[in-house]
C-alpha cells in the first residue's frame, strides 16, 4: 500500500512540474528544455537552508520558489532573442550548466555525494512523516498549482500568452509587449518547478545531481507533449501515466537492469510515434508550428 502511495506522491510532484512547464511550452509556445534546472534549484535551495541553517521546509519551499523564479528570469533572456531549435538548445545548455554547478560546487552541494538527511515537513508542530500525510500535502500543492496556472491561462493575460504562441508578430501588432509576457511566464513556470523541487527534497530526504539531469527535463517535456500542449488536464494525465507505466514493468518481475532501459525505450518510442502520429498529444489541440 505504501508503495502505491509513494508512486502517487511522485506522480503528483511530476504533475506540478508538467503543469508549470506546460505554461511555458504549451500555452506560450516557448520550447524550453531546461525545466529540471528549476526543479533542481528549488530542491537544493530548500535542502541547504534546512541543513545549514535549520530553516523550516516551509521557508525553504518559498525560498526555493523564489530562487527558481530568479533563475527563470535569467533564462528568459535567451527567449527574447532566440526561436525554435535555438531556444531549445540554449535552455538545454542552461540546464546543463546548472547541473554542472550542482555536481562540481562540492563545497556547497557536496557534489555527486549528494545531500542526505534532509528534514521533513511539519504542519502545526506535527511532522508529516507518513506517506498518507505527505500525499495530502503534495496534493494540496497540486491544487494550488492548478488554481494559479488555471486562472492565469483562462484570463485575458493567458489569452495574450496563447496569442504569442500563435504569432508573435501579430501579438505585437495588437500593442502587446511580447518580451514582458515571456519573462513573466518563465518566472512563474520556474517558481512552480522550484516548489516541486522543494517538495521532492523534503520527501525523499536525499538529493544529488542525478535527479536533475537533461534526461529529467526531457521526461517532463514528454509528459507535457504526451498529455497535450496547452491542456492542464493533459499534463496531469500525462504525468501520471508516464510515472505509473514504467512501474508496471517492475510488477512483471523484471530486474532493474532490464526495466530501467526498457522504460527509457518506451519513452523514446512514444516520443517518436507521438511526433509522427499525434503531435498535439492526448488531450491537446495545439500543434507546434
Amino acid at each position: 500500500m505504501d508503495y502505491v502511495l509513494h508512486i502517487m506522491v511522485i506522480a503528483s510532484i511530476y504533475v506540478i512540474l508538467a503543469m508549470s512547464l506546460n505554461l511555458i511550452v504549451g500555452f506560450t509556445g516557448l520550447p524550453a528544455l531546461g525545466h529540471a534546472a528549476f526543479y533542481g534549484i528549488g530542491a537544493y535551495t530548500s535542502a541547504l537552508l534546512a541543513l545549514n541553517f535549520g530553516a523550516s521546509p516551509w521557508i525553504g519551499l518559498i525560498a526555493g520558489a523564489i530562487t527558481a523564479g530568479l533563475l527563470g528570469f535569467v533564462i528568459s533572456f535567451p527567449a527574447l532573442r532566440l526561436k525554435g531549435d535555438y531556444l531549445a538548445l540554449a535552455t538545454l545548455g542552461a540546464g546543463v550548466i546548472v547541473y554542472s554547478i550542482a555536481k562540481n560546487w562540492v563545497a556547497v552541494t557536496r557534489g555527486p555525494m549528494g545531500l542526505p538527511g534532509i528534514p521533513g515537513f511539519t504542519f502545526l508542530g506535527y511532522p508529516l512523516d507518513g506517506v498518507w500525510a505527505y500525499l495530502i500535502l503534495v496534493l494540496a500543492f497540486v491544487g494550488l498549482t492548478t488554481f494559479v496556472i488555471g486562472r492565469i491561462v483562462n484570463s485575458p493575460f493567458g489569452r495574450i500568452l496563447k496569442a504569442i504562441r500563435e504569432d508573435e508578430i501579430g501579438t505585437q501588432a495588437m500593442g502587446r509587449d511580447v518580451n514582458y509576457y515571456k519573462v513573466m511566464v518563465f518566472m512563474i513556470g520556474a517558481a512552480f518547478a522550484g516548489v516541486a523541487g522543494s517538495l521532492y527534497a523534503h520527501y525523499i530526504t536525499f538529493i544529488d545531481p542525478s535527479s536533475f539531469t537533461l534526461m529529467e527535463s526531457i521526461t517532463i517535456l514528454l509528459m507535457v507533449v504526451f498529455g497535450g500542449l496547452g491542456s492542464l488536464r493533459g499534463s496531469m494525465v500525462g504525468a501520471v501515466i508516464l510515472v505509473v507505466l514504467p512501474e508496471l514493468l517492475r510488477f512483471l518481475g523484471m530486474p532493474s537492469s532490464i526495466a530501467a532501459p526498457l522504460r527509457q525505450m518506451i519513452y523514446g518510442l512514444l516520443l517518436v510515434l507521438l511526433m509522427i502520429k499525434r503531435p498535439q498529444g492526448l488531450m491537446g489541440h495545439y500543434r507546434f508550428k
Binding site: R151, I152, S155, F157, D167, Q172, A173, M174, G175
Partner: protein, 258 residues
C-alpha cells in the same frame, strides 16, 4: 488639409536591394490614401517600417507633428498606428471572438494580479469587450462565427475578421495591406463602404491594393512607388494618365523609343 503622419526620407535596404529609397510623404488626416506600384516596389516594406517591424536605415516618422522615438511595434500600435497583413495574420488556433478581444484595451483585466485575485473586475470588463466584439463582427455579418476557430474560416472571412480586429484595436490610422485580395465582389463592396464610413468617423486610412478599380474608386490620394522610390503622387485621375506610372506598370512604350 492637415497631415497626421509625416514620413521623411525613409530608406531601407536588405539582401542587397534598396527596398525603400528616400521616400517622403504626408498622410492627409481623415482621408483614404493608397500606395500602388508593381511587384517589388517597396509597398510592404513601407508598411513594415511604419509599424516597427523593420528598422529604417535612415529617415524619420512624425505623428501629429512629433517625431516618433520608440519605433517598437507594440508602441506604435499603442500610439495609434494599426495594420492588417498581406497574408492575414489571425491567431489561427484561437476563436474569432478571442482574436478581437486580444486587440481591445483592457486596462483592468490584463494584469497578472487581476487574473489571480480580482476575477470579478476582470469579468466585468471582459463582458463589455465581448459585447463590443460581437457588435464589430455583426458589421461584417460574422457574429455567428464568434466561437469558431480562426483557422476554420474561409479566406474571405479571415480577411474581414482581421479587419474587424483592427477596428477593435481602435487606432486613428489604419494601414491595410491588400485588403481586397481573395474577397468576393459582394465582400469588396462591404469593405469599401466600411472604409468610407470610417473616414467619416475621423479615421485615416493608408492602403496597398492590387485591385486597381477599387483603388481608383475610393482613394482621395494615390502614391506610386517603383524600385523603392516615389515616382508619382496625386488624385486618381492624374495618376492614371501619368506616363511614368504607366511605364512602371506596363513597361516602356516600344514605338515611342523607336
Amino acid at each position: 488639409m492637415s497631415t497626421i503622419l509625416q514620413i521623411s526620407n525613409l530608406s531601407k535596404s536588405f539582401d542587397g536591394i534598396q527596398a525603400l529609397n528616400r521616400v517622403s510623404l504626408d498622410l492627409p488626416r481623415g482621408k483614404i490614401s493608397a500606395v500602388i506600384g508593381p511587384n517589388g516596389a517597396g509597398k510592404t516594406t513601407l508598411f513594415n517600417v511604419l509599424t516597427g517591424f523593420l528598422t529604417p536605415d535612415e529617415g524619420e516618422v512624425s505623428l501629429g507633428g512629433k517625431i516618433i522615438e520608440d519605433m517598437r511595434p507594440h508602441k506604435l500600435a499603442l500610439l495609434g498606428i494599426g495594420r492588417t497583413f498581406q497574408n492575414v495574420r489571425l491567431f489561427a488556433q484561437m476563436t474569432v471572438l478571442d482574436n478581437l478581444l486580444l486587440a481591445m484595451k483592457n486596462p483592468k483585466g490584463v494584469s497578472l494580479w487581476a487574473a489571480l485575485a480580482r476575477p470579478q473586475i476582470m469579468q466585468a470588463e471582459e463582458h463589455a469587450n465581448r459585447a463590443r466584439g460581437l457588435e464589430l463582427l455583426e458589421l461584417f455579418r460574422l457574429a455567428d462565427k464568434a466561437g469558431e476557430l480562426a483557422e476554420n474560416l474561409s479566406s474571405g472571412q479571415s480577411k474581414l475578421v482581421e479587419f474587424a480586429r483592427l477596428l477593435a484595436l481602435n487606432t486613428d490610422i489604419l494601414l491595410l495591406d491588400e485588403p481586397m485580395a481573395g474577397l468576393y465582389p459582394e465582400m469588396i463592396e462591404t469593405l469599401k463602404k466600411t472604409m468610407q464610413a470610417l473616414i467619416t468617423q475621423g479615421k485615416t486610412i493608408l492602403f496597398v491594393e492590387h485591385n486597381i478599380n477599387v483603388v481608383m474608386d475610393i482613394s482621395d490620394h494615390i502614391v506610386v512607388l517603383n524600385h523603392g522610390q516615389k515616382i508619382a503622387e496625386g488624385p486618381p485621375q492624374e495618376i492614371r494618365k501619368d506616363e511614368k506610372v504607366i511605364e512602371a506598370y506596363l513597361g516602356k512604350r516600344q514605338d515611342a523609343s523607336a
